[in-house]
Structures are given as structure tokens and as C-alpha cells.
């Protein structure tokens, strides 16, 4: 078991992805996620963020290259076994499902015969929806609905979460709380997260960011190293960079201000 600690949870090697007879959406993608890592996936619209998450979750199969989960080919896992290790949450904005909050959250337990230690009530409490557990999702606000799906994700209890813009619809309060919640899970349960983002401010709070453009990695590393003027210009076609304040905090500098 000693090797487990050094083994990456997820490993992509030379992955290309293209739909039939089209230009590749992902080119030569190579990176790995270590145990307990928190990676912010940053890139402009259409840069391939969602495609990377779908590849990593096994929904899409790479045209070239390999994807390994805990050192084993991702495609070789059974559906239920994979669901216990890896959880994917798509961008949910359009989803309109007829379930109650409690029913939806409880679906996170589907991969299990014996439910894991966390209960539906606890999960709903963590996302602040316990008082709305009997409400229909259709009657919730966009942010509340998002949190109900996050409760489902928590119940699924997978060690690797692949989240596609999970904070996009949330009030700043819940953006921070969900972020904090995921951090706490990282500390207590050693979960790892790849989160697609387009908000650079949120990316600053990650220990590690991956900047992509046109399906290629521009850089992986600490945000203050990666989100520099040149790479940001290349990724987003705007002049933007991180500055350090004298007090130690960081902020974004827009435009060409000196």
C-alpha cells in the first residue's frame, strides 16, 4: 500500500479528443491529479474545460492517449465501481427535474448497497437546504438547485470530484461556503477536486490552477505563477494580471495600468 500515497489519482497522458471527422477539441493533454489536490481549470469559453472533465469522468473516450484512475485504465472500471471513486457534476443550468430535494440528494447513494457514513440530512444541512428538503427542485432558485446537486455529490462520497462551473449560479455567500465546504472535505476526507471556472477571482483561491486554450495546456501551477500577464493575454485575449498588495493579499489588475 505504500505506493498508493505517491500514486496520482487521475492521470491523463497524451490525450487527444475529437468528434468524428472534426478538428480535435483536446490536443496532447497530459497532467495528473495527486491525492488531496484542488485544481482550478481556467480558460475562455470553448477552450475545452467541459470536454476535459467529460474525458476525465469517462463520459467521453479519448481518441488518442490514456486516462488512468488510481493507476488503472479508466475504461476498465465497472460503472458502479467508478461511481464510488469519481463523481462528475455537469453544468446544471438547464436541468429541470421533477424530484424533491431529498429525493435528488438521496440518489448520490445509488452506487452503494450499504450507504456510507454521511446521511441525507447531514448532506442537506451542509449545503444549507435542510429546511427545503421536501421542496420540489422546480420551485427552488438556481443557486438552491445547484446546492441540492452538490448535496447529491457529497452523498456519493467519491474521492475525486469533477465539477463543471459549480459556483456559476451562486450568491457570493454560497460560492464561499461551497468552496470552504470542499476545502474542509479535502482536509478531513482527503478528496481531490478539479473544478472548471471562468472567474479569475475564484481561481486565485486555488492552490493550483490549470490554464487552457484551444484544448491545450498553457500552464499548470500556483495561480500567482500561472496567471501572469502573458499567459492571461494568450488565454483570454485581455490584459489582466495578479498583483500582490503590500499587506500580503492579492488582487487583479485590469487593463494596462502600471
Amino acid at each position: 500500500m505504500s505506493s498508493v500515497h505517491n500514486q496520482p489519482i487521475l492521470e491523463l497522458g497524451g490525450v487527444d479528443f475529437r468528434y468524428f471527422r472534426t478538428e480535435p477539441l483536446i490536443r496532447d493533454m497530459t497532467f495528473s491529479v495527486e491525492n488531496g489536490e484542488f485544481i482550478g481549470l481556467l480558460g475562455a469559453n470553448g477552450s475545452g474545460k467541459s470536454t476535459i472533465l467529460k474525458l476525465a469522468s469517462g463520459i467521453l473516450k479519448p481518441s488518442v492517449g490514456h486516462i488512468k484512475l488510481w493507476g488503472k485504465e479508466l475504461a476498465s472500471y465497472g460503472n458502479r465501481d467508478r461511481a464510488k471513486l469519481l463523481c462528475y457534476l455537469p453544468q446544471l443550468l438547464d436541468i429541470n427535474v421533477p424530484f424533491k430535494v431529498r429525493e435528488l440528494a438521496g440518489m448520490g447513494l445509488y452506487p452503494y448497497d450499504i450507504p456510507p457514513e454521511i446521511s441525507v440530512d447531514e448532506a442537506l444541512d451542509l449545503v444549507g437546504l435542510l429546511d427545503k428538503s421536501e421542496s420540489y427542485l422546480a420551485n427552488l432558485s438556481g443557486g438552491e438547485r445547484q446546492r441540492a446537486f452538490i448535496a447529491m455529490t457529497l452523498l456519493q462520497g467519491a474521492g475525486l470530484l469533477l465539477l463543471d462551473e459549480p459556483l456559476a449560479n451562486l450568491d457570493i455567500k454560497y460560492q464561499l461556503e461551497i468552496h470552504r465546504l470542499l476545502k474542509k472535505l479535502k482536509d478531513t476526507k482527503n478528496i481531490s477536486v478539479i473544478m472548471a471556472l471562468h472567474d479569475v477571482n475564484i481561481a486565485l483561491q486555488f492552490e493550483k490552477v490549470m490554464l487552457i486554450k484551444d484544448g491545450r495546456v498553457l500552464g499548470i501551477g500556483r495561480p500567482e505563477n500561472i496567471l501572469n500577464r502573458d499567459l492571461m493575454k494568450e488565454a483570454f485575449d485581455v490584459s489582466i494580471e495578479i498583483r500582490k498588495q503590500n499587506g500580503g493579499g492579492t488582487y487583479l489588475n485590469y487593463g494596462d495600468n502600471p
Binding site: K54, S57, G58, I59, N79, R80, D81, R82, A83, K84, L86, C87, Y88, L89, P90, I95, N96, V97, P98, F99, K100, E103, L104, M107, G108, Y110, P111, A138, N139, Q156
Partner: protein, 321 residues
């Protein structure tokens, strides 16, 4: 689902079932069964009520499964065109009067027609190794038009007596029900129901979208294929038992969700029981209004079902806002 609702469902369904056994053209006193009445009850009423219940359950479950797996609240077993193939094949048997298989001719022709169309719809709905919901629906609608046109052609060129029987059958004719058909219907309908009930979690997951279903550990393509097969089995068996009875497949699952919520582990079994009871009731009404004439059950279900369908269209929150 609360115990009170479960109790009410059981009592209502059992009452309708018993009422349709003992009421109708002749009222039968269950406490004083004599020669003819006993004969009517055992060899006419009981098989007829059982067939009605089986058909109604099969349609109710098929509707619930289809609306879930296609993520479309307007889906029902007939939108896939399965009924049109059954109707064409059965009408061919009725109109031409070719009773090759005796009394089994119509049911077998209907089952054959329904199976052929199921396979065709599946083939047209298949792309890149999976069944695509939109393609399935459109293929079903397209094939329905074709088969109904052929049916109209057949009816327009046939003799007077043949037309009337064919039309009656198309609207659901339970008067042909007898014991000999029940075992065949039972095998297909129960297999379909077993697949549906045992996979109710997968159906819930499919309703969240294929990507989330995948994340929760289900193969969307495999589950949708299994559900399609189970619906094809149930619907084909149902139409072959007593014609193409409409609206149960559309209406019953919606009422059920309205009352008990959308969790398919309850929706599927409850749709089975309520669909069965609904068709028993419709059949009872159809043969009680103006005896000895029988109004086909398909007309009764549609007369009750259509207004409700329109009401649902207006009342959007049932379908999701």
C-alpha cells in the same frame, strides 16, 4: 409514499376491480352464484376484467418508463408508433377474414405488427451505438403516419362488416378477451414490468440526464435500451390482448406523479395498479352505458383522458416550470 395514500390506492383499485366483475350488462350477486351467473362470471367476466387490468397496468408502466427514459412528459407507448403497426396487422387479419390461427389470429397479428414496428423504431432511433431520445420519438411519429395511412387504405378498400370490426378493435375491444390469451399476455407483460421495476433507480438517474446517470454509475445507453425493450414487450402484449387503448399510458403516470411525487421506485408500481384499475373502470362504464351495445374502452379512456391532457398542458407546474 405515505401509508394513507397506499391504503386508498389499494382500496379504490380493489373496489373498481370487484365492481367490474359483478356489474355490467347483468348484475351478478357474488353471494348467490348460480348456474348461468357463475358461468358468466368465470368464463366471461373474470378473463375480461383480468385482461383489462393487465393491459391497463402494462400501458401505465410503459408510459411512466417512456416519459422518464425520453425525458419527455408527452411521451406515451403509442407515440413510438407501436400501436400503428399492431393496428395495421390486426386490421389486415380482421378485414381479410383470414383466420389462419383461429381465435389467436388477431392477437398474434397485432403482436407481430407491434414487434416489427418496435424493431423499426429502435433501428431508426439508433445512432453511434445508442438510442437517442429525440430520434426515437421522431422515428415513432414518422412510422405512425406511414402505418396509419396504410391502415386507412386497407379500411377504404374493404367490405362493410370488416371495417366496423377493425374500427372497434382499433379503439380497444375487450369483448374478445378469454382465458386462452392471458398466459401469453402475462409472460410478456410481467417480464417488461420486472425489468422496469428492478431498474427504477436507473430510470430516476436517466431523468437527471445521461451525464449524471453516468456519474451515478449507470450506463445510459444500456439502461435506455433495456427500458425500450421492456416497453416494446409490454405495449405489444397489451395491444394484442385488446386493441390500442389510448391515453392510459399518457395520463396515468402524470396523475400518479401528481399525487405521490416522481420517484420511479413508487411511480412504476403505482402506475401499474392505477392503470389496471383505470382500464377496468373504463371497460365497466363502456359496457354499462347502453347494453347490450358496448362502447370500446379506448373511447371511454380518451373521453376522460383528452380533457385531462388539455388541462395538464395548461397547468404547467405539473410538467415542470
Amino acid at each position: 409514499m405515505s401509508k394513507i395514500k397506499l391504503f386508498l390506492l389499494a382500496v379504490t383499485s380493489a373496489s373498481i376491480f370487484l365492481a367490474s366483475l359483478f356489474f355490467g350488462q347483468n348484475t351478478i350477486n357474488p353471494f348467490n352464484l348460480q348456474g348461468t351467473e357463475k358461468e358468466i362470471l368465470l368464463s366471461i367476466r373474470l378473463p375480461r376484467v383480468l385482461v383489462a387490468f393487465l393491459m391497463g397496468s402494462a400501458l401505465g408502466v410503459s408510459g411512466a418508463v417512456l416519459q422518464g427514459m425520453l425525458r419527455n412528459p408527452l411521451a406515451d407507448p403509442y407515440i413510438l408508433g407501436i400501436s400503428s403497426g399492431a393496428a395495421l396487422a390486426a386490421a389486415f387479419g380482421l378485414v381479410t377474414g383470414s383466420y389462419v390461427l383461429g381465435k389467436f389470429t388477431i392477437p398474434f397479428a397485432a403482436f407481430f405488427g407491434a414487434s416489427i414496428v418496435s424493431i423499426l423504431v429502435g433501428a431508426f432511433g439508433w445512432k453511434k451505438g445508442r438510442l437517442l431520445p429525440e430520434r426515437l420519438l421522431l422515428a415513432g411519429v414518422g412510422l405512425s403516419f406511414l402505418f396509419y395511412a396504410l391502415l386507412m387504405l386497407l379500411i377504404s378498400v374493404s367490405s362493410y362488416e370488416g371495417i366496423r370490426r377493425a374500427v372497434l378493435w382499433i379503439f380497444g375491444d375487450l369483448s374478445i378477451a378469454d382465458w386462452s390469451l392471458i398466459p401469453y399476455g402475462l409472460v410478456f407483460i410481467l417480464s417488461g414490468m420486472y425489468i422496469s421495476i428492478s431498474r427504477s433507480k436507473a430510470l430516476n438517474a436517466l431523468m437527471l440526464g445521461d451525464d449524471l446517470a453516468h456519474s451515478l454509475g449507470f450506463s445510459a445507453r444500456r439502461e435506455r435500451l433495456l427500458f425500450f425493450v421492456s416497453v416494446a414487450l409490454m405495449t405489444s402484449a397489451s395491444v394484442s390482448l385488446g386493441g390500442t387503448i389510448g391515453f392510459i399510458g399518457l395520463l396515468v403516470p402524470h396523475i400518479v406523479r401528481f399525487v405521490i411525487g416522481a420517484d420511479n421506485s413508487s411511480v412504476i408500481p403505482v402506475s401499474a395498479v392505477s392503470g389496471g384499475a383505470f382500464l377496468c373502470g373504463a371497460d365497466l362504464i363502456g359496457r354499462s352505458i347502453a347494453p347490450p351495445m358496448e362502447i370500446p374502452s379506448g373511447i371511454i379512456t380518451a373521453v376522460i383522458g383528452s380533457p385531462y391532457f388539455l388541462y395538464l398542458l395548461r397547468k404547467k407546474d405539473v410538467l415542470g416550470s
